[in-house]
Amino acid sequence: MTTKNWLWLRDPLVWALAALVWLVFGMAHLKPLFAAAFPALDRPLYEQDTFVALLWSHVEIVAVSSAVAVVVGVAAALFVTRAAGREFRPLVETLVAIGQTVPPVAVLAIAVPLIGFGETPALIALALYGLLPIVRATIVGIESVPEAVREAATGLGLGGWQRLVRAELPLALPVLLAGVRTSVIINIGTATIASTVGARTLGSPIIVGLAGFNTAYVIQGALVVGLLAITVDLLFDRAGRHFDRWRSPR
């Protein structure tokens, strides 16, 4: 089937990933291009760090903080949707609602004077802020499981834990995944700003460029982090559709 073999060529995820990899590894080759576009600058290429290293550091910070956020957030949301934790639900929802009004930058900014500069405040701030969409999405997802399924599961003899793992979580997964997606995308953005607090991320060329009026730096950083965000978003979209197969089979 020739059509199926070439289908991946039309896949936007493939293009985004390819562009990201190509740009990150080949940034040095673009130096003459930037030099020509910005003749007034004597340093047209950000060379304090390789873009590969920056990308890796950025991904690492986001991955670690998101992992923590997922574990804590899903656990908290599950607790609140069980009978034992129902009392705490309004409290948790209030905290989430208030938390969402605080800009992610602020969480970062407050963490620094308390903890100091570097990666640690960034990790803590990202993990804290990343909790919110995940908690909210998990609660909504669990609530969206049809009552009939829950009743049937209990009636058949599934214990509480089994019901959760076999029936409720898989059905809540699409919404949950959407929440994780939102959280990760926001975290990628906040991690970009984290370079103002001394973390090594793809925001560093942007911040340095803004401070030093070096537009080339800014564009280089912006392009890479923009591509990273788009690629990750497409990955989540693909994963979501994979887990959703049972909704519209065939």
């Binding site: 009978a83 930058v105 900014a109 004077p113 460029g209 537009t215 564009i219």
Partner: protein, 394 residues
Amino acid sequence: MAALAIEQGARGFGFVRNRVLCALVVAGVAAALGLAFVTVAPNRLVSGTGITLPGLLVGARALLLLPAAWLMLAVLTPPSRAVHASVTVSGALLLAGLVWLAGDEAAAQSAHLASIARVSLGGGFWVLAVLAWLAAADALQRLGLSPAWRALVHAAALLPLAALLGNGAIDQLSLLKEYANRQDVFNAAALRHGQIVAATLLPALLIGVPLGVAAARSERLARPLFAALNVIQTVPSIALFGLLIAPLAWLGDALPGWGIQGIGLLPAVIALVLYALLPIVHSTASGLRQVPAGAIESATGMGLTAAQRFWNVEVPLALPVLLSGLRVTTVQVIGLAVVAALIGAGGFGALVFQGLASSALDLVLLGVLPVVALAIAADAGLELLGCSLESPGR
């Protein structure tokens, strides 16, 4: 199923009647004993020594313990409307008391310290303040009042704080000293932040709502539109700001005299409008799409023209969804405008990043607290507006 739930929920400590309040009280006691309530530093550069709450409760100040004691007792009292109401009041009183205590201690300390000495609010204060407010909010929610009444109670609870702020009782705290030193900068930042938000929301609505209407009507338009807007939302804000610099700078060179610059207010507003478009277009479109087909059909059957149908049937029924989208957008823009300071747009973000650079928490707070207050106020205000629009005959 309900019976199962009730049974499972009844497990736990038998004598604790309010588990949420219990958790808050336990956390509060831990914070009071473990975290510094205020920190005293000889000057701005040195980090100060902390004083915990027990150390401050001498003399008349011990009165502060009364609302706290009632909150602890309420954990063991069988719940009733009266108890919840009293918890709300106690929580509010405790909050006001904590603020007053901090201000009073600052005043007392400043009396015998040099004028450059700093008395700052410590982690203990913040945690206790938040816990007190949460206790009050949770009890208020258990009373089951309408949103309008709840908003009124919240406002009433904030009155003592406003009074303390107004008559200078807490002026010796470093946060307020910082404000006093930078009042002009603060006011300019406040004005600029408001300008950014207004300059973003207006065009966003003017462009977004028509686009949303078009998207609701045409699936062919909707798909590429949402795909594009989604890409914009995904890209980090600072990257979007950054990518706009070059084209705008080029445009500025090409069209001198228009005041177009790559940095400053214009790229910030343009980028923010682009960000605001997605929630507004999406909520307009989904608001229109969820108008029941039956309502439209009967409207047509009654003989209304398309325009009459739009304004009399579709718009009122889609409005709640749109308002909810506007609410989300406003909060988002207020927050994103902070980042705009990095490209020279000003606003509260300037205070935040300046404080960040000089590691001055007070300056950071001076930028963050107004933003949070503004966001909460906008959120609550729009929620009330939504509720008031919904009540007649729904």
